[in-house]
């Protein structure tokens, strides 16, 4: 796959360029919009939930920001990715190119806005009373895993979207529910021990928890936590690749 990617590097670059241009054409802020959206969500959550949870949660702004950061990247990458195959059906039914390029191109876009938001998070951290440490470098693990996880979920969704357009609406509902289950604006310690274990089944919660643990508590999660994340990534990516491989020459019947 890597070798093939190198072979199609030029096409990939052109696709990334195209996606950028078509997304931000005739917008004043351009990529600024991708930054504004998580920041506004952060602001609203802060205003609304400070009263409820803010007083008992230390570093509540950072706590929220970690959640919003991961959440925003996940939804942007997967929702954009879902349409990537369909939107490029005019290309892949005419020219034989690897179909995952379209998805990866969309993911680059989401990744860039994620990284920019991450920089803003660190600025927030600098203004907070937290002191960054070398442990922050362990964040590379959840970031790389999240990138792969988003690609995997994007592959699954974009394949499903080709077969059933309902995927879009179902996923819309699914993400809305998932948002409330991911402990973005509340803390899980108000739940029973048992209930807290269930949160570990949610990959998004794992990623968010990892960020919070490192940034706020200055502690790297244990090995079990790393393994849980790795399993989620492997499942998503494996399923996605399998669907693409299996349906590689079937997609064109459905578009």
């Amino acid at each position: 796959m890597i070798k093939k990617l190198m072979q199609h590097r030029f096409l990939f670059e052109e696709l990334v360029k195209r996606d950028f241009k078509t997304k931000y054409k005739r917008t004043v802020l351009g990529i600024g919009w991708s930054l504004l959206s998580p920041l506004l969500l952060l602001l609203v959550l802060k205003l609304v939930f400070t009263e409820l949870y803010g007083k008992t949660t230390p570093h509540f702004s950072i706590y929220l920001f970690c959640g919003v950061l991961v959440w925003n990247y996940f939804t942007e990458a997967t929702k954009g990715g879902m349409r990537s195959l369909m939107d490029n059906s005019g290309i892949f039914t005419k020219v034989n190119v690897p179909k995952y390029l379209f998805l990866l191109s969309k993911n680059v876009q989401a990744l860039i806005s994620f990284l920019l938001t991450l920089v803003i998070l660190f600025i927030f951290v600098a203004f907070d009373t937290l002191t960054p440490s070398l442990r922050y470098f362990s964040l590379f693990y959840p970031i790389i895993c999240l990138v792969l996880f988003n690609i995997g979920v994007g592959m699954i969704l974009s394949a499903l979207f080709i077969f059933f357009r309902d995927t879009q609406y179902l996923y819309e509902i699914f993400t809305r529910l998932l948002m409330y289950l991911s402990a973005i604006f509340y803390t899980v310690d108000r739940f029973s021990e048992q209930a807290q274990q269930y949160f570990l089944l949610n990959p998004l919660y794992l990623f968010i928890r990892y960020f919070r643990s490192v940034i706020i508590e200055n502690a790297v999660p244990d090995i079990r936590f790393h393994l849980l994340i790795a399993v989620d990534v492997l499942v998503a990516l494996g399923l996605g690749c399998w669907m693409y491989k299996k349906n590689n020459t079937k997609f064109l019947y459905y578009v």
Binding site: K94, V97, F164, Y254
Partner: protein, 250 residues
């Protein structure tokens, strides 16, 4: 031998699965009203091309020409039989589509070049030639949607003909553009053939095939009617077949 298509049959699926939602799908499955038709778009088609060959594929609408080309390029997999390629294939199926209407002419040219598998360096070198040939120098930075359909086809043809793949597939290209451009494009095609490229030309125009090809494949409803190097003979019989269809209608 640079391309061999051996006993290729392709089963094409069509039917209710397109554009239906999940509810509709489940309903139809439950009421046994879910129909997927499949038919043989191509049945036992064989041909082979040597370097420098120009194959014309003729046949009426629905003869299986486009489906066959999709198998040649690898977009589709043959249900039976085998396609062997030795070299790069640049396919331009339904030329004017696949451009992005929001991008400029220049951006589209690069994107198309990239799709055809060329490097950035190659595109940097040939870009000016492409634009000159397409006579679109004044339109380089215009959004693609502002171009007339003739201009779009001219650009598509220029990109296709100025790049040098081992196997070039041209689907209905030469039927586009005004008279002057058509002359120019035919001259260009000659140049490509003389340069030793292997080309497959799909067209409705028998005259083009007579003028340019050294091999002909005649398809009718997916069946291979005739194939061979007797271009004039096959074209004569195809023309006679078309005429008989016409008189049959009247």
């Amino acid at each position: 031998m640079i391309l061999e298509v051996k006993n290729v049959s392709i089963r094409y699926k069509t039917g209710d699965f397109k554009d239906i939602g999940l509810k509709e799908y489940l309903m139809r499955k439950a009421t046994h009203n879910y129909h997927v038709k499949s038919f043989w778009a191509d049945k036992d088609v064989s041909f082979s091309l040597e370097k420098g060959d120009m194959l014309g594929i003729i046949g009426r609408n629905g003869a299986g020409k486009s489906t066959l080309l999709k198998a040649v390029t690898g977009i589709m997999e043959p249900t039976k039989g085998k396609v062997t390629r030795k070299g790069s294939v640049a396919a331009l199926l339904e030329l004017a589509s696949g451009f992005d209407k929001e991008l400029t002419v220049k951006e589209n040219t690069y994107l198309r070049g990239a799709m055809l598998g060329y490097t950035r360096k190659f595109m940097d070198e040939t870009y000016d030639k492409i634009i000159d040939f397409a006579e679109l120098k004044d339109f380089q930075d215009r959004p693609f949607k502002q171009l007339s359909s003739g201009m779009k086809s001219r650009l598509a043809f220029s990109i296709a003909s100025l790049v040098q793949p081992d196997i070039l597939i041209l689907d209905e290209v030469l039927s586009v553009g005004d008279g002057a451009f058509r002359k120019k494009s035919e001259a260009k095609m000659r140049e490509i053939i003389d340069g030793g490229a292997t080309t497959i030309l799909v067209t409705h125009s028998v005259n083009q095939v007579r003028a340019m090809c050294n091999k002909v494949l005649w398809l009718e409803k997916g069946e291979q009617v005739e194939y061979g190097g007797d271009v004039q003979g096959i074209c004569d019989r195809y023309q006679a077949f078309l005429d008989s269809m016409d008189t049959g209608k009247r």
